[in-house]
C-alpha cells in the first residue's frame, strides 16, 4: 500500500477483504518475496486495537518501488510537476519510490508554474529525471492534449489475445521503431489531429471510438 510508505510507516490498516480470497490466498510464495526489502507476507490480519470485541483489521505492508515513471502535461525547468485531470495513484507511487522519472508533454518556465502553485502536483526535490516526450502517453490519453487512440487500442485488444500476434505487434510498434519521431510518423499526422483534445472538454468530442 503506497499510502503507507509516503509516511515513514511499515504498514497501512484496511477494514476490507476479510473473509475473501484476497486475504486468504497469496500469489507469490515467500521464497520470491523475502528479499530486496519485500516483506515475506502479502498482508497480516490483526485484532483491531480500536474496534469492538473480535473485530479484525487487515494490515498491508508498505510498497517501496525502486523507480516510479509517470507522464505529466507540464514540468518546469526546476522539476516541479503539473498534472491535469485525475491523478489515480501517480502521486503516491512517486512519494513511495526511491527514484522518480517524469515524462512530459511540455517543459515550461519555473516562473510560470510558480504563478499558480495550487495547481502543482509534485515538488522538484522528488523528481530525479525529466524527459520531454510529446505524445508520450499514446495510444492512451493525456487530458487536454490528446484523447486515446481508439483505432490503435482496438487493434491492441485484438492482438493481445494471442502470443504470436502480440509478438508481431511488439516488433512492429516497439522494437522495430527506431525513434519516437518514427513512432509518431507511423501513427500518422491525420490520426494525431483526430485525437487532439478540445481545449475546454479535455478530450476529443465525437471521436469515432468504434
Amino acid at each position: 500500500m503506497m499510502n503507507a510508505k509516503q509516511m515513514p510507516y511499515h504498514a497501512h490498516p484496511l477494514p476490507s477483504g476479510l473473509g475473501t480470497d484476497v486475504v486468504e490466498k497469496t500469489g507469490f510464495p515467500p521464497e520470491l518475496r523475502c528479499e530486496d526489502g519485500i516483506p515475506c507476507e502479502k498482508l497480516i490480519v490483526i485484532d483491531d486495537p480500536f474496534g469492538h470485541k473480535d473485530d479484525e483489521v487487515v494490515l498491508l505492508p508498505a510498497l517501496t518501488p525502486d523507480v516510479s515513471i509517470i507522464h505529466a502535461q507540464q514540468v518546469s525547468t526546476d522539476g516541479t510537476v503539473r498534472i491535469r485531470g485525475l491523478t489515480f495513484a501517480d502521486l503516491e507511487q512517486c512519494k513511495a519510490a526511491s527514484a522518480v522519472i517524469v515524462t512530459c508533454e511540455e517543459i515550461v518556465p519555473e516562473s510560470y508554474l510558480r504563478l499558480d502553485p495550487d495547481q502543482n502536483a509534485l515538488p522538484p526535490f522528488l523528481v530525479d529525471a525529466v524527459v520531454l516526450a510529446p505524445y508520450g502517453a499514446h495510444p492512451t490519453a493525456c487530458p487536454y492534449f490528446y484523447d486515446y487512440d481508439p483505432a490503435h487500442l482496438n487493434h491492441y485488444k485484438a492482438i493481445a489475445k494471442d502470443d504470436e500476434t502480440w509478438a508481431a505487434y511488439l516488433e512492429e510498434w516497439v522494437y522495430g521503431v527506431e525513434s519516437s519521431d518514427a513512432y509518431l510518423d507511423k501513427v500518422g499526422g491525420a490520426q494525431l489531429a483526430r485525437i487532439r483534445s478540445n481545449t475546454v472538454a479535455g478530450y476529443a468530442p465525437g471521436l469515432d471510438r468504434r
Binding site: 477494514p15 476479510l18 480470497d21 484476497v22 500469489g27 501517480d90 490519453a141 472538454a201
Partner: protein
Amino acid sequence: MEYSPREMMAIAAGRFIKDGDVLFAGTGVAMLAATVAKRIHAPHAHIFFETGGIGPTLEELPMAAADPRVMAFANLNAGLVEAFSYVANRRLHTIAFLGAAQIDRYGNVNSTVIGDYHAPKVRFSGSGGACDAGSLASGYIVFMQHGVQKFVEKLDYLTTPGWLSGDDSRRHAGYRRGGPIAVVTNLCVLKFDETTHEMYLAERYEGVTPEQVQQNTGFALDVSRAALTEPPTAEELRILRDDVDPQRLILG
C-alpha cells in the same frame, strides 16, 4: 417496440438509482448503467470512479476509469485514496456498480481467475477496487451475463465479499455495512432474501421464463417471487440509443 437484452439490462440497472444517490462505477456495463442513470433516471446522481474522477457530467460514455470523459467537467479530479474515502464515508449512502466473472448464491463475486488460482485457465485483471468497494460501500449492484458457468455453486476465487455464507455471516466477519443489493443480467433482476440473504429471482424481462433463468443458473433459485420487468419506454430507448451510446460501444 424492439430492444436488445443489453438495452433492457442497462435500463433495468439505471432504474435502481435515485436522484441524489452517490454512485461508485466500475468499467464496462457498469459504466453504461451509471451513464443511463445520470441521463435518464437520476440527473442529480453523483457518480465517481476509483481513479479519482468525482462527479463528471458524462456528456459522452467513458470506456475506462481513466478515460478523460470521467474527468471532463467534474466536480473535482482527485486520486485513488480520495475516491475510496468517499466509498467508505460514513455520512454517505454509496452504491457501487461492479462487473463479475462468477457469482454465487450469496452474491459473493469472483473477478480474479477461472480455474485454480495458482494455475488458472483464465486470469482477469483481478480485484482492482472491487474487493474494497464491496467491503466498504453501503451496497453494490452486479452486472453480468447469465449462464451456468457464471452463476456457480462455488466460486473459483472469492474477490468481493457479498453475504459470505448467508444469514448474519457478513456482519460476523466484521463488516459494518454493505452487501449485494441486486444482480442485473441479460435475462432478469435478482435480489437477496432479507433474512437468509440467498439470491432469488425478483424480476424477469419480457419474453424470459423462470425456467429459462433457472436453466442458466448453476444453483437452485427461488423463482416464486418473480414479477415481470416493465419494458423500456420509447423515451428511455431514445435517450439510450441517441445520447448515451450512439456509437454502440457497449450496447454492441
